[in-house]
Each structure stands twice: as C-alpha cells, then as structure tokens.
C-alpha cells in the first residue's frame, strides 16, 4: 500500500539513529517499574496547517516512557491535532500538512520509507466517541492481530483476545458473550472494548483523544483506573477537557493554547505552580 501522506512537507533533516527495524517489529512491552523514564516520543518544532489555516506553531515536547502525559487546553487549541500527528492519523486528511520532526525511540516517524500503517500498529489510538466495529466483541479485539498476522493459531488468537480484554478490565463482563455485537455494550464498556482492541495489536504508545467525554462519571472512573494500570506497560498520551482528570491520571501535563505549547511539566507543578499566566488562568477557570 502506498503511503498517502504529503511527502513534500516531510522533514528532510538528517536522521541520527536509524532504528527502522524497531518500527516494523511488534514489541511486547516489558513490565517495568512505574517511574519516569527516558523520552519515548520526541517532537521538535512541529507545525501543522489545515489548508491555509495554521493549527500548530512549532511544538517541541519529550514524552517519557511508561507514564501518562495529559494534553489540556481550550477547544481548538491544537492538542488533538498534535495527538493525531503522533500516529500520523492526520495523513488521512488531504488538506493537512505536517512539518517538523517527531521521533519514537529515536526513529523519525515521518520518514518516507516508513509505512504509516505499521506505525499505527505501534501507536494505538482510542477515540473520543466509542467506535467499536459493528461486529462481535471477539472480532473487535481479534481484528488487529489478524490483519497483522501476529498470531498463528486460533488458540493463540483466543489468548490474545482474552489477555487484551483482561488488561482492559472487560473480560469478566463479556467472557460469556464474546459472540455478541460490540455495539450492544454500554458506552463505558464500548470504550474499554476499544482500549482492548488497541492493546491487542501490542502497541508501545496509546493515544487517547478525550476518551471519557461521552461517558458518565462512573464509567469515567473505571477508564481512569484502567489508564493508571495501563501506564505500567504502555506510554499513554491523553487529551482531556477535564482538568481534574488530567490531575488524577497523568504524571506530565502539557497546556496548549491557540496552537502553541504554552507550558509542559510535571502535573503537580502545572496544577500547583504554573509558570505561565495563561496556564494559571486556564486551570483556575478564568477562560475556556
């Protein structure tokens, strides 16, 4: 399949370390300590245009491994746009142009030799609205492993489905009805199914675009617990409108405003002692 991202706007800068081999290999995340580690995702001077309109202005950020990083900011501030740059989902929008450099484990993800489809297998995504496929619960989770050929037998596939559903905290609720449609679950269950679907491919990074905005507080609490759990194994980037949520689940918080990354730091510090007045105004509810 030919990649359809706009090559012309791709950053042609020198690649210091070529770790392409890593990108094509599905990695199983090793269980690690819950500590901030070296940067998993590094972005340098990322700029995004939608047609004539510029949506992001030179965003540079280092996202550490196996932790939760929250992007907060008012509507239209570019946080979702930046999130979608990390797995090149913006490639699917014809008028969108991305410039700058984003590296995962040091490898440039906008390298023209890189297949964005393989990238997305490594960088999973959970969307704002739960969007299970109109298929059975089993098929929803099994779809990713199936198309990537990561399992060789039905038994292995069953195991992957079970493990993924367990990790997403959904197994006990659905184990007796795996052949039922995924769309028949409640909103919170659907969102956890989507998380299980993302996990099943064995990603290293999971991007979550306001995963709780369509859910009630109880379902939200469950997802937040889940995010907390998942951070032991995955690097999680979450876009959220709820500052409480950012404060509850994340270790790092980035505040976006009008396409600029205004402030980025440890969550505690952002919420207690922000250095920028705009951040201060936003988290105290002056605007937004």
């Amino acid at each position: 399949m030919v990649t359809d991202h706009p090559e012309t706007f791709h950053n042609q800068g020198p690649t210091t370390v070529n770790r392409m081999a890593d990108l094509t290999m599905p990695l199983t995340p090793a269980a690690g300590l819950f500590t901030a580690n070296e940067a998993k995702v590094t972005a340098r001077d990322v700029t995004v245009h939608y047609g004539e309109k510029q949506a992001l202005f030179g965003v540079s950020i280092d996202i550490p491994e196996r932790s939760v990083t929250a992007f907060i900011g008012p509507s239209g501030c570019g946080k979702s746009t930046f999130l979608r740059c990390i797995n090149r989902m913006n490639d699917t929008i014809p008028i969108c142009r991305v410039a700058g450099e984003i590296r995962i484990d040091g490898a440039d993800i906008y390298d023209r030799r890189l297949d964005p489809v393989l990238l997305r297998a490594r960088v999973g995504m959970v969307f704002q609205k739960p969007n299970p496929f109109p298929k059975s619960i089993y098929e929803n989770v099994a779809y990713g492993p199936r198309i990537h050929g990561t399992t060789t037998s039905r038994q292995e596939l069953d195991e992957v489905v079970e493990t993924s559903l367990r990790k997403a905290g959904l197994w006990d609720e659905v184990k007796d009805r795996l052949d039922q449609p995924g769309t028949g679950l409640s909103g919170g269950q659907q969102q956890r199914l989507c998380i299980a679907r993302a996990i099943a491919v064995g990603p290293e990074v999971i991007l979550m675009d306001e995963p709780c905005s369509a859910l009630d507080p109880i379902a939200t609490a469950r997802i937040e617990e889940l995010i907390f759990e998942l951070a032991r194994n995955f690097t999680i980037v979450i876009v959220t409108h709820s500052m409480q949520q950012a404060a509850r689940v994340s270790q790092q918080t980035a505040f976006f405003h009008l396409g600029h990354l205004v402030e980025y730091g440890a969550t505690e510090q952002i919420f207690t002692a922000p250095s920028d007045t705009r951040t201060q105004d936003y988290i105290t509810g002056r605007f937004g």
Binding site: M89, T92, M125, K135, G144, I147, R197
Partner: protein, 585 residues
C-alpha cells in the same frame, strides 16, 4: 460576554399573557393545522389516483387470468389423429386433433349444416389450439384412441370474452306469463299476453330519445340558419336537411306514440333472445303480446310453456357492432345452460409464448426474455458499478479529472433511455455486429442505463458510513484498503444492494431502448440463451396494447399486473435486504 448575559435589560422576557402573544400562538397553530391539511389532501389525492389506476388495471386485467373451456366427450379415431395410420410419436404429433372435437360439437348441434354456420361453430367458438390438450393426452397414452374421452376444449377469445361478460351487456329475465310457440325450428310466432310489453316500452322510449336528439340537432341548425343572409344558396340546402331530420323525428315520434304497434328488431338495435324448451329463439319483431322470431337453437317441442319455464336474454350491444353474432351467442348460451362451459385458471398465460390468437398468447417469452436481460445487466452492472463507486469515493485523488468523471456520471443518469437505445443500435448492433433482438444486447443497453444509478447509490451508501469506523480501523493499523473492504463496504452493502435493486427495477420496466435494438419483434418461442431473439415483459405489453381484440386488451392489463407484481417484489426485496443487514448489529 458573561456579563452581558446577566444584564436583565439585554434580554426581553416574552409576555405570554398578552393579546399579541396569544394571537401569535393562534397563528402558529393555524399555520401548522393548514400544513397538515395540505399534506393529508395531497396524500388523499395521490391515494385516490393510485386506487383508480390499480383498480382499473385489475378490473381490466382479471379476465386474462382465467380461460373458458367447453366439456366435450370425443371419440378420437386413428384416421384423424395419426398422419399415417400408426401410433408412432411423429405420426401422432401431426394429427388433426380438432377433428374429433368438431365431430363432438356437430353431435351437440346436429341442425348446423350450412357451410357458414359450420365454420362459425367449428372455428369461431372453438379455439385454434383447442386440440392441443387432446394431443398431449393421446401422445402420452395412445390407448385412448377409439375410446370416448372427456376433454375440456379451449374456447375462442371472443366466446371467452362473451362468457366473461366483456363483449356486451347482458340482461337475463325470467319470462312472465305463459308462452305459446308456433314451431320448433325456422321462423316462429311467440304469443304471451303482455309478456313483451316492457321490452316494447323500452324500445319505444329509445325511439323517443332518438327523435328528441334529432330534433335538438335540427333545431340548432335551424337557429344558425336564421343568421345566414336571405338568398344565400346554402340556406336552401340546409333548410332541406333540417326538414328531412324533422320529418324523420316526427316518424319516430309517431312510432313511439303508438304503444301497441309492433317494432322490428334489426342489427342496430339490442338483440332479444328467448330461451325456451332447450332451444333459443331470436326475436325479429316484437308487439305487446306477440313476437315474431327465428329459431337459432332448435327447441325440444313447440307448444305452450308455463310461467317461469322460459327466459329472455337481452344483449345490449347491437349485433352489427360486436364480434359475435346472435347465432354464436345462442350456441354459447345453450352450452352454458347445459353446464358444459367451465372457467379455469389460465396457466397458459404463464407457460406459453406470444401468439396471434389471444386465448393462446402467454407471457413466458417476455418473462424469460426479461429475466435473461436482467441477468446480463446485473452481471455487468453490479461489479462495475460498485468497483467504480469504491474507487471514486475512497481512493481516487480529488482533482479535476475525477470531478469531470463525477459530473458526467450524474449527467449520464439523466440521459433519456431512448438515447441509450440509439447508442446500442449504433454500437452493439451495427459496429460490433451482435445479434438483433437478443437479450445480450438488451442487457448491455440497460446496463448503460443502470450503471450511473448504481454508482450514485453506492457512493451515497459509502459516504453514509460513519467516519469513526474508518478511523477505528486505521487506528489499529489497518491499511486504507483494509479499512474500506473490511469495515466500510460491509456497512454500505445494504445501501448498495437497495440502489442496485431499484436500478434493476427501473431497467425491468424500461421499454424504449429495447424497441430500438429490435426486441419488439413478434416472437413465439421462449428464448433459451442470451443470444436468441426475445422480447421483454414491458415490450410484450406494448405489443399487445396495439392489438384490436378485446381479449388482447385484457392480456395487456394482465401483463401489466404481472409486471407490477414483479416490481413490487423487487422493491420489497430491497426493503427486506436493508432491514436484514441493518438489524444485524
């Protein structure tokens, strides 16, 4: 912003109690009620016309689904049914199976001897295909030859239409009073005190009406005559015409004014038949208590019969303007009175091809032709149309060329179908030399017609799939093509199928392009392949609608019913498919 919203002066509260407010509310209610009324009225008018249309077609078409037969006991002779005196299949196939039927009819009406009457009885009452059933039975079992066999012989279309009451209005009354008949054959006199008075009164009234009509017409001419200048030569001729009309009217009035004077019944007046003693008499002149008549079917005996033992049959359509003479009708009435005439479901209508004889003509040729044509269309259209839609909607770059293609597809959907017919004639027949009248060419032409519909419907169905599904697939690392074929296409399938079926239903009813590629020919044989000459269902309707026989008019309406049923079934299928696939999850 928030400050402005809090300012009490910025937003004016609505005073719901004020007169103006109430008036506004009433106006809104009235507008809504009016709109509802318009909607209901429009629906009612549409429904009324639909009921009228369907009702008219059903009433006209019902006779096509039944056929009349006469039960005859025949003794087929080997010399009749075999060409060479043996019972070989070839010899039996060529036999004259109408001959035993004719012999049986002759037994039923032994008095029929004149050449003209025999022709009428044998060829205008019985269908030309009446012997077919007997042929089938004897070929299956040659042992029936020489033994009495009861057969149900098909009647001719005119006889069939008369028996169904479609040829002429028919009023039957039981005779009042006794009736004395002077003879059993030939010209007879019928005496019955006052029995014919009502009939005579009806005839006299018709005379009065005719006289009034002539007088009114003459009066109008006379009035315009006054406007002509004196000495104008046209005046004299016109005056002469008016005078002649007036004297004719006067003569009619004189006849009408004499209630007891007998009247002569001719070929331009309704016919009066009297059924008595197992025979039928046609009245030639009628008085209040006495009538002259001619025996059409011999009576058992002459003499006097009591009240209630005889009937009169009035045929409202004058003999001169109907397809069967009084003699034909007398035979039919006689056979019906003896219980020999039966009505059957016309399986022939669905199992035989076209014919010049209405009672033998069937739809099978058209049906099979239509099915073959539809098959070719579907095989060409569905893969091409869906592939084109998927490519244009999901993969094609958005540039000037694809825009041009899109505009042209939309334009193509609006091109009149006859243009496609001309194209098919020029390209498929003349350039590629494909066979004329073949379902293959019909299917090709209809495919051109349906393709834009399918592409447009499929693109709409693909566009209607929520983008979240696409994103979900891409998010787990599916390629664009995998996302489309694994998720988007299955979700769009009900819409695509619906569009396809509606397109096919459109093609099924299409006539004009088929006329141009020669599928309008008179074809008796049912086509066996897509390259054989065939016609299609709507073309068959078109062909039959052109024919003068009332039975073909019924067949036309019957074929329309069949076509409509097909279309309803197809559209129903589209609905069912959509429901089925939509409810799956």
């Amino acid at each position: 912003m928030t400050d402005a919203a809090l300012d009490p002066g910025a937003v004016r509260a609505i005073d719901l109690a004020s007169d103006a407010s109430r008036a506004r509310l009433r106006r809104r209610y009235r507008a809504e009620a009016r709109f509802r009324a318009y909607g209901i009225a429009a629906l009612a008018v549409a429904g009324l016309f639909l009921v009228l249309l369907v009702g008219d077609i059903v009433i006209k078409g019902l006779p096509a689904f039944t056929e009349s037969r006469v039960t005859l006991t025949v003794t087929p002779q080997l010399s009749q049914v075999s060409t060479d005196g043996t019972t070989g299949a070839d010899a039996l196939r060529g036999g004259d199976y109408a001959a035993p039927l004719r012999a049986s009819l002759q037994e039923l009406f032994p008095e029929v001897t004149s050449r003209q009457d025999r022709r009428r009885l044998f060829f205008e009452i019985l269908s030309g295909g009446a012997g077919d059933d007997l042929r089938r039975r004897i070929m299956a079992d040659p042992g029936l030859i020489g033994r009495p066999v009861t057969v149900s012989a098909l009647l001719d279309d005119s006889a069939d239409m008369y028996l169904k009451g479609r040829l002429t209005g028919r009023v039957e009354r039981t005779g009042r009073g006794t009736l004395a008949i002077s003879g059993a054959t030939g010209d007879v006199t019928l005496d019955s005190p006052g029995a014919f008075r009502d009939t005579l009164a009806t005839i006299k009234k018709a005379l009065r009406d005719e006289a009034a009509a002539i007088e009114a017409a003459a009066g109008r001419v006379a009035q315009r005559l006054e406007a002509l200048p004196v000495g104008d030569p046209r005046r004299a001729t016109a005056q002469a015409g008016v005078d002649a009309d007036r004297s004719r009217a006067a003569a009619l009035r004189a006849r009408a004014a004499a209630p007891e004077a007998p009247e002569v019944l001719g070929t331009d007046t309704p016919s009066e038949l009297v059924a008595v003693n197992g025979g039928i008499v046609k009245l030639t002149s009628i008085g209040p208590s006495q009538a002259q008549g001619r025996v059409l079917v011999p009576l058992g005996t002459a003499g006097t019969v009591s009240e209630g033992a005889w009937r009169t049959i009035t045929l409202l359509q004058p003999e001169g303007s109907r397809r069967l003479t009084d003699q034909h009708i007398a035979w039919l009435e006689d056979m019906r009175a003896e219980g020999l005439v039966t009505r059957h479901f016309a399986t022939r209508f669905f199992t035989s091809g076209d014919s010049r004889e209405p009672e033998l003509a069937g739809l099978l040729g058209g049906l099979v032709g239509s099915l073959l044509t539809m098959f070719v269309t579907l095989v060409l259209c569905l893969p091409t149309g869906v592939a084109a839609a998927i490519y244009l909607e999901e993969f094609a770059p958005k540039n000037r060329i694809t825009d041009l293609i899109e505009v042209n597809i939309n334009n193509l959907a609006a091109v009149p179908s006859i243009v496609f017919g001309l194209l098919g004639l020029a390209v498929f027949l003349n350039f590629f030399g494909l066979p004329r009248s073949a379902p293959l060419v019909g299917g090709l032409v209809l495919a051109l017609l349906v393709l834009p519909t399918i592409i447009i419907a499929s693109r709409a169905a693909l566009k209607a799939v929520p983008p979240s599904i696409r994103e979900a697939a891409l998010g787990v690392g599916a390629s664009h093509q995998q996302a489309v074929f694994h998720h988007v296409l299955p979700m769009a399938m009900p819409g695509i199928l619906t569009g396809t079926i509606i397109g096919m239903a459109h093609a099924l009813g299409e006539t004009a392009p088929l006329l141009l590629i020669g599928m309008v020919a008179f074809i008796v044989d049912t086509p066996q392949s897509v390259t054989q000459a065939a016609t299609a269902l709507p073309v068959q309707i078109y062909l039959w609608s052109d024919l003068p026989e009332p039975a073909f008019q019924a067949k036309t309406a019957g074929a329309i019913i069949v076509l409509l049923v097909f279309l309803f079934v197809m559209n129903g299928l589209a609905v069912v498919l959509r429901r089925k696939f939509e409810r799956r999850w």
